[in-house]
Symmetry: D4
Subunit: 166 residues, 8 copies
């Protein structure tokens, strides 16, 4: 059976340092990905091409990161019926509020699954949650991750419980 595959696009190469967290999570979870730069505004044809061919090329989820008037996730969503996850980037003078609203407030008919500002790792996890309805091995990875998050928290507990208690 083919491995699950995710398409990760970003509007600018300055987003890479943040967006790679999504790619790294997919890698940990054994999910393939193609990652590329494709600005909705500076390279619109390439962007449309990616969206239109995504399903037939075997992608099952698209992750798109963009800042400011962040149109990339919405433009992709208008050309595909695959789920599109949008990551609003915090760059620019408004701390990412512009990107949140440009991605979140899509019109009726064309949703984008928006995650928090700069939340690339969460975008990777959400992609895996989506894949987990079809790929048993991804579900198992996610449950392992959830357990290890809990464990990590528990380990910090001892130090904090003793702190300032003399």
């Amino acid at each position: 059976m083919a491995k699950p595959k995710v398409l990760i696009l970003m509007g600018s190469d300055s987003d890479l340092k943040t967006v790679e967290e999504a790619a790294k999570f997919l890698k940990e979870a054994g999910v393939d990905f193609t990652m590329d730069i494709s600005s909705a505004h500076r390279n619109p044809e390439k962007t449309v091409e990616y969206a239109k061919k995504a399903r037939e090329e075997g992608f099952e989820v698209i992750i798109a990161a963009a800042g400011m008037a962040a149109h990339l996730p919405g433009v992709l969503a208008s050309h595909t019926t695959l789920p599109v996850i949008g990551i609003p980037m915090s760059g620019g003078a408004l701390g990412g509020v512009d990107a949140v609203l440009s991605i979140l407030q899509m019109p009726k008919g064309i949703p984008v699954a928006t995650v928090g500002i700069d939340a690339a790792r969460n975008a990777g996890i959400l992609a895996c949650q989506i894949l987990s309805i079809k790929y048993e091995e991804v579900r198992i990875k996610l449950e392992g991750m959830k357990a290890s998050i809990r464990k990590e928290n528990d380990e910090k507990s001892a130090r904090i419980r003793n702190y300032l208690q003399d």
Copy 2:
């Protein structure tokens, strides 16, 4: 083969009039759903129960709607590895900005797929987009819907193109 199934929860019965748009879209698309009220704050045990059992009871996507300090989608997401779609409701004095931030800005490890304010129909569509990676018939419905949206737009075109042109 079993039909796909979605769990729809809302924080208050006053949300029903908006949230039913999600249910109606699922129905059009031939997707089963269970819809219930389960407040994260007023009925926390029931909420946790729903999240924990969702996967084993055959749900593949969860849609959760809540307003103000909207914790319902996040609380559900903390107890499951299924994808959770959050709908921020516009009720209250702040027009839904409080709900957007309470749902969107989840911590690392626990994403919620947030849609626009009151965007219940889009939540239903997003749920179907997720299901479409597994269920061929859902994909076909989505593509039909996309075509009919385009057609509807085209039909309005003639009237507007003639308007004020005497």
Copy 3:
């Protein structure tokens, strides 16, 4: 000599009642226009087509109105080198702030000339100001309008100066 010509696009037919103010101003000023509905998300191919052919079809300015995650002006701007004027619409729960940011905060290389929320008449005037650098008759119309605005203000003055002065 050919008459100047403006392309007016809107994302939804519910915008018409506001957007027609732009068309009416153009008409007063003797400028031709084509007005149509063309959603960036619901009808993306048509939108791209309009932008790509605008210049060769003789349009010299594009006016685009959209609300919420308002991508229409930006998508048009990415496919043309004509000046694009964006009108953020006030519809939705956030009073148009989402539309302002989605239109205004365009990335380097692809500007949109943004006017105020619902400011369709101002969009029409701005289009004429742009045309006025080339068409003497448009400049004359604009100066007439500016004078009549001043006169209208002066006429209201007498009433207000007497008010509460007994």
Copy 4:
């Protein structure tokens, strides 16, 4: 008679540096406390457990600090009838506005006593004000603190009154 006792929880160990101001004030005031990390999202069972047992284990006030989509105070409040004080943390791209709204705008029936952004010392003082209705010694400490704040202000006065007056 048993000493008064406060439970202090935080969503992340990165909050400790701020939250310890609450603990330090309690210590100055002779109030016992248990401080721990317990994320509403990453460790939900532990969080619920803390809330449910808080009263029977002798806690009389709960202080909970969290950032972004800050659900910790609200989740605790949904499982106890003890007063819960929420501290919105300023971490993340939005400077704490997200945390304020996620904590403050609780639904009818489940209040959280919200203090200012990062205002951990004020949370400690508020906890003591609550305890002061029962514990005479805490009331006395608070009044001493209020007097010393006034005195501190008075001492700065002389320097400022002379400043720039040559």
Copy 5:
């Protein structure tokens, strides 16, 4: 043993319709209260007097409601060591955001326990939660209320679960 007693102040008599929800909850819970109008700005001496004498007159919690530049809760808090609960009112052009910030963001040393916008009933509940650390009968009332909230939710569940399921 004396009954617990709460002081409820509001900045304007137009707040009464909202603020009475706090009084009504206290009444249900068997808690006495004095309710009065006392603007921090229009009647400052009376306001200070109330705060200074509150503890000696047997009040154990103060609830203060105000809108816009809402100073009442903070002014009271500066003259007492009793816990002060602030209710930001939604009146005015900004929907209560001004009141939230004017109440919440108190300086170090003088906290106000802020509840949600117009959340008078929650202010009454929070007052009772505070009193519950001292008055067993108030704690019992609160737990009864929590159970009845849950029951009310459960009763709505049946209707919603059947809705749209034909």
Copy 6:
């Protein structure tokens, strides 16, 4: 001795219904005024003329009301050394936030004394407070008004103190 005199300008005649509250207060206080419409943008020469001649024509304070991109108070302030009071009007899609920032955030050297949104009566009072440093009779009026505000509050007190106390 000449009576004190205030200049009241507004950007649009739709502001009159709000702005007249300033004029009415001045009238009660025995202060003369000239009230007129003079838009900073639609009638700039008239506006500049008013500002430049205000002092020599015997005005001692200027009140200016405007909405949206509210430039009127600032433009007046740039042409006079008289104190200019700015009233941000709530008209338009943003509830007056745009007007507040356009009036308040003036550059170094050119202050505007900003009052609250739509706060025309307060603008009238502030004008009188300014005049009161020179005109004894205005000071006396202001003190009378302050006393009557207090009295009005006291009269409401009895009704509220009895409310819900059966």
Copy 7:
């Protein structure tokens, strides 16, 4: 004739570095001042005392600076009929928005003349503009200042006009 005199109060000594710009301008303009720290919350009696005695002690304008839930200007205004100028300080997590709203949005009857965030020099200028209606020498100073601002601008002009013009 006595020199004009201004009272400058600030809520915290950390405000001094900003607030001294007001004092320095007054000094340049030959206006006397008393500057002191007097927190509305930490030292309320002293604050009230200052406001009540300000006029009889010969002050003609009050300048008050405070941050966050900035009550100082409003508390002073409630105890005097002198004009009170409020300076919102930018300290804290919200960049001064909280201080702006806490100072600007005063209730009917008690205005505060608000200047921009951290705009202490503008507060000094506004105080002088107020004094200028009574003190001829202050008016002359202000006009000199206005001329020198213009001159300073003109001198920068030459450099900028040549810039990038080779």
Copy 8:
């Protein structure tokens, strides 16, 4: 035939470092410009003069940059029928939101073509797009620039596509 010519004005010389990006783009595109400092508030006569004479001196577009209560673009627009492009600057405590609203929300009759915060290069491009309706050589430059932006994006693509793919 005369070369096209643009007038660039800024409110403060501290804006130069940002604004010069507009000038540089014009230079690349072979467009002449005059750049100067001319504050709407500190040098109002000079500002009005520039606006009134701009068209007769051969300017065809005006670019104006200002921060905070940014009146410069609007003041210029009120005195000319040329298109005015406004650049909101990010300086000050509010990150440029004040400047955006002061420039964007112009009243009916007097539009300003607003670009994003600090978006000086985009202002230069927009000026050229306007000029391109008249000057063939400017249109050619713009199309060249659009192609080179696309090419630049494509070159980054290879690196990103290989990243993390071992």
